[in-house]
């Protein structure tokens, strides 16, 4: 084995000082061989990002390195190794960008909105590169071409807001690699992206790596991503390395129970566990021809040039009583808008019909007023995505759980207490914690509290809007299991929203795949997973990374349906923005949006 590029040995990093000193990285060691990819895997609080920032010399002021060394061998100059923890600031600035480059998680905020993409990438050249006779512009355009921009010259002059998240991440990669560093640190580079975009970005990273021969330190929480790109893996938990070694070894034969648990918890599409068709005659809600059009504010003085944005187009969906319907789609697909319309949080366009039947006769949701609307609010509840913003920091858990009961005069004071205790127990938390405040709880526990609050009024329909996407994988599995158990116990029906087919794969009876405000394919879960028809569905399925090292991403399938661009889909599925194709039945209860 050649001498490693980066050599982290016994690194310790602590926050605070004196008695409050709190080590978040405790004796971490790893090495990255030249031209290879090492994945630093861990859940939140594992210290993986802090480790990265230490390597780059970007630790915040209240952090100190307590021990260890980081030996780095730059490919420029004399090729000697040097300890990054003791080099001068001036040398560190040289190394950053020249030798080590970094890509951040959030493509929306990592580019300056005030400068063109070209100017920002040229700056790298101006700071770090020798003049090789070609203009910066030419070299940038070449780099943009290399990261897959269709019109690189146009990209050079574009501002970040003109590009989508995936495109910005491509620009970041171009910026990071244009000076040909020998180490690229990618801190969760695809976490903020849609799955299909993630697949393409990962592919691009690998291509750039092959072209330049750089080493990559990839920080991620997703074992599926690891399986696809990593040569070596270091698994961290609470600042310590739990297990490390060659990727295939670790993923095929994990030895530490923690890694075993992580692999088991990684969501994967499991066709065998998917539900078959459920009976459909008894519907709790039936939505027909639901459209929602937002009028964007015009640019002109009097709002001239206002544009209609079709958030939803003619969606038909129905939820059987006691069943689970999943809405799956990437960001901007309209799935959350549909949920809002269904729970009467937003008004649909005229002509949309949403009919509920709670067991005592059908009624239209949009006609509800006063007392009837309050009854309705009792029966339809929601669990939000972000457990950190869904609980008021100023209320105790007891108050949070009792709030719905108070609003509805559901029961008297002593019963409120009893109910809260029972709900806490039911969602797996200790009733002793009722007097605590939300900050005392972890993300997963907060999500349990949010579920308890939603169930306090004994609703009939529970809408879950990406309830697990802000949680760690191992916690996600627990919350999904809890939701699965509660459905039967409380006789609930679910409308489950997710961007990830794998998350809903063993929960949903029926899945509707949405794209650009329209359902493109809808079928019972088992049928959808076994015989997907639409290229977009296939792309979503193919793009979900699997932690098994032999199941690589199928980039062909992904690129056929990726990017949520109906204009770019193959015939007979292609349509332009104006009129979507009809939803055709290809099989019993299996609908696909395609040309007749």
């Amino acid at each position: 084995m050649s001498e490693p590029i980066l050599h982290v040995s016994d690194l310790g990093v602590a926050f605070g000082k004196g008695r409050d000193l709190h080590e978040v990285v405790r004796g971490v060691s790893f090495a990255i061989p030249a031209g290879k990819t090492l994945a630093l895997v861990g859940e939140s609080g594992s210290g993986k990002s802090v480790t990265c920032r230490t390597i780059m010399g970007l630790l915040s002021g209240n952090a100190t390195v307590t021990r260890g060394r980081i030996d780095y061998r730059c490919h420029l100059g004399d090729g000697k190794t040097e300890d990054l923890l003791s080099v001068s600031k001036r040398r560190m600035r040289q190394i950053r960008g020249d030798g080590i480059a970094m890509i951040f998680q959030e493509p929306m905020s990592s580019l300056s909105p005030f400068h063109t993409i070209g100017a920002q990438v040229s700056e790298m050249l101006a700071l770090h590169s020798e003049n090789d006779g070609r203009s910066h512009r030419d070299r940038c355009i070449e780099a943009f071409e290399g990261v897959g921009f269709a019109d690189p010259a146009r990209t050079f002059d574009a501002y970040p807001f003109e590009l989508s998240g995936g495109m910005r991440q491509r620009a970041m990669i171009a910026m990071a690699t244009i000076c040909v560093p020998n180490l690229l640190i990618a801190d969760e580079p695809t976490t903020a992206l849609d799955v299909t975009t993630q697949a393409l970005i990962l592919d691009l990273l690998q291509k750039r790596q092959e072209e330049t021969g750089m080493s990559v330190l990839l920080v991620t929480h997703d074992l599926g991503v690891v399986a696809n790109v990593a040569d070596y893996v270091t698994v961290m938990r609470q600042g310590e390395v739990m297990e490390s070694g060659p990727a295939r070894d670790l993923l095929m034969t994990p030895r530490h129970p923690y890694l075993k648990r992580l692999i088991a918890a990684a969501p994967a599409i499991d066709t065998d566990r998917a539900h078959g068709p459920a009976p459909t005659t008894d519907l709790i809600v039936k939505a027909e021809n639901v459209s929602k059009t937002y009028v964007s504010r015009g640019r002109g003085l009097f709002g001239l040039g206002a544009e209609n944005i079709h958030a939803l187009r003619d969606v038909d969906i129905s939820i059987p009583r006691g069943g689970t319907v999943a809405l799956v789609g990437e960001s901007g697909s309209g799935k959350s808008t549909l949920a809002r319309v269904i729970m009467r949080d937003a008004t649909p366009d005229p002509g949309s019909r949403i009919t509920y039947d709670m067991g005592d006769g059908p009624f239209a949701a949009n006609d509800l007023k006063g007392e009837a609307l309050m009854r309705f609010r009792e029966q339809v509840q929601i669990v939000f995505q972000d457990p950190y913003s869904s609980l008021s920091p100023r209320m105790t858990i007891q108050d949070i759980l009792a709030e719905p009961l108070r609003v509805h005069n559901f029961c008297d004071r002593s019963e409120m207490r009893d109910r809260s205790v029972a709900m806490m127990k039911r969602v797996g938390l200790s009733p002793d914690h009722l007097s605590r405040y939300p900050h005392a709880f972890s993300g997963g526990q907060r999500q349990r509290i949010a579920i308890a609050r939603a169930l306090a009024l004994e609703p009939k329909l529970l809408i879950c809007d990406e309830p697990t996407s802000a949680l760690d994988v191992s916690v996600q599995a627990q919350v999904l299991d809890l939701l699965d158990d509660l459905r039967e116990e409380f006789g609930l029906s679910y409308l489950f929203i997710s961007h990830d087919l794998a998350v809903v794969s063993h929960l949903a009876d029926e899945i509707a795949v949405m794209c650009r405000g329209a359902v493109v394919e809808q079928a019972p879960a088992k049928i959808l997973f076994e015989a997907p028809v639409h290229p977009y569905t296939k792309a979503l399925m193919a793009a979900a990374p699997d932690p098994h090292p032999d199941h690589r991403l199928d980039l062909n399938a992904i690129s056929l349906g990726a990017g949520a661009k109906p204009e770019a889909w193959p015939e007979p599925y292609r349509y332009d923005r104006r009129d979507p194709l009809p939803l055709l039945a290809v099989d019993d209860r299996h609908f696909v949006r395609m040309e007749a």
């Binding site: 050599h7 016994d10 310790g12 602590a14 709190h22 080590e23 405790r26 004796g27 060691s29 790893f30 090495a31 990255i32 290879k36 090492l38 859940e43 939140s44 307590t66 270091t234 938990r237 609470q238 310590e240 390395v241 739990m242 297990e243 490390s244 070694g245 060659p246 530490h256 129970p257 648990r261 949080d345 609010r377 009792e378 509840q381 929601i382 939000f384 995505q385 913003s389 869904s390 609980l391 008021s392 920091p393 100023r394 209320m395 709030e403 719905p404 609003v407 509805h408 405040y437 900050h439 005392a440 709880f441 972890s442 993300g443 526990q445 609050r453 009024l457 191992s474 916690v475 627990q478």
Partner: protein, 395 residues
């Protein structure tokens, strides 16, 4: 996150060789879910804020200083050795007298030396000479200049009185022979309360209009925003001047004082309204507010139980940061002679006497009202700073 002692042994660093399959001997925690939990933040917000505020030393000192001043306000008549407008024709522009504790080498009760005035015919001013032989002990807890406490009860009790037959001009005397220190103490009453009354008016308007704009949005928001923009675009000083010039000169000092606070409040609310509006707008986006809406809670209930507890603290901060502006406003107006007028005493009125450059040159103590103005404004700013840091204990 678990805390461990890094000095304890038993931990083997993980290996360097990437090809070695290393397994840490630490057992699995079996999915104990701790990600994101902050047990240290598990307590009522008020407690968190207090704890954090106390760590901000400068803010605490400022807070104590201001608390001390405000506690003094009801008792100014007793604290000041002289009356606010008590004149001593023998001591025009008398310089500050220093308090002594040692007389001929021995420690004695605090005293001042007698001063004698002699005309200096070269410079046409009074020269004051200390007579080092005549010791005049200062009297404490004594009966002195009569006053009407709160303008109601007659009293003669003072904490400190000038010596029998002598003077006690701690900060000198002004043009009419009035004690500057006593006037500072009396002026404090007006100057510090003008901010409170002004801020109360400003809060009332600002929270109501800002709250409506933030919660209802739409055209209500537009109207409030336009009002704010118009008021903000008015040049501040001329408007103050115009409004205070409209106060009839025959009004009593108390009415003028109230009027001035109202004017200051009426012009200050836009800043507060904006702060309230933007805080409400961001809070409305929080999912716990949406959750309350979808539970069916009424707007009144949402505002009361979900919004107000979360933004009250921000209002306290905004208010504490606006008070100094009010104090400075009053000072500026009175300095220009358009705010309070004698015989009312405020720091601005006192500075009005110090407008003349020659006065400053020969009798700088006449401008000593500058010092409390600067100290109070700084203290409010430090206090507001500390509060602002403390009010968001979750960051």
């Amino acid at each position: 996150m678990k805390r461990t002692d890094p000095t304890k042994g038993g931990r083997v660093p993980s290996p360097i060789d990437p090809n070695e399959h290393y397994v840490n001997a630490t057992p699995d925690d079996e999915g104990v879910d701790t990600g994101g939990a902050r047990p240290d933040l598990d307590m009522p917000t008020g407690k968190l804020i207090r704890r954090r505020f106390l760590r901000h030393r400068l803010a605490v000192i400022s807070g104590l200083f201001l608390a001390f001043l405000y506690l003094c306000i009801p008792f100014v008549e007793m604290i000041a050795p002289y009356g606010a407008n008590q004149r001593d024709a023998e001591h025009l522009y008398a310089p500050p007298q220093s308090v002594h504790f040692f007389h001929e080498g021995s420690l004695v009760a605090p005293f001042v030396y007698a001063t004698t005035a002699a005309p200096d015919l070269e410079n046409f001013q009074w020269k004051y000479e200390e007579d080092r032989t005549v010791r005049q002990p200062i009297r404490f807890l004594c009966l002195g200049e009569p006053y009407r406490f709160w303008g109601l009860v007659e009293g003669r009790f003072h904490l400190v009185c000038p010596p029998e037959g002598g003077t006690l001009f701690l900060l000198g005397a002004d043009r009419l022979g009035r004690d500057v220190f006593s006037r500072l103490v009396y002026g404090m009453r007006v100057s510090l309360t003008v901010g409170l009354i002004g801020i109360a008016i400003s809060l009332l308007i600002g929270v109501t209009l800002g709250g409506m704009a933030g919660y209802f949005g739409g055209w209500v928001d537009s109207i409030v925003q336009r009002m704010i923009e118009v008021i903000r675009s008015l040049p501040e000083l001329p408007i103050w001047l115009a409004l205070s010039a409209a106060v009839p000169p025959q009004w009593s000092p108390v009415s003028v004082f109230l009027m001035i606070s109202i004017i200051l409040g009426l012009l200050d609310w836009p800043g507060l309204a904006r702060a309230v509006r933007s805080k409400l707008l961001s809070l409305r986006e929080e999912e716990f507010v949406r959750a309350a809406e979808l539970i069916g809670a009424s707007p009144a209930r949402i505002i009361r139980t979900h919004l107000i507890p979360n933004f009250m603290s921000h209002i306290v901060v905004s208010a504490s940061l606006s008070i100094p502006a009010m104090i400075l406003g009053e000072t500026a107006l009175s300095f220009l002679g358009l705010g309070l007028r004698p015989p009312a005493v405020s720091w601005g009125v006192m500075l009005n006497d110090a407008q003349d450059l020659t006065v400053i040159e020969f009798y700088p103590w006449v401008a000593s009202a500058m010092v409390p103005v600067i100290l109070v404004v700084l203290a409010f700013n430090f206090l507001g700073d500390g509060l602002r840091d403390a009010m968001d204990p979750y960051s």
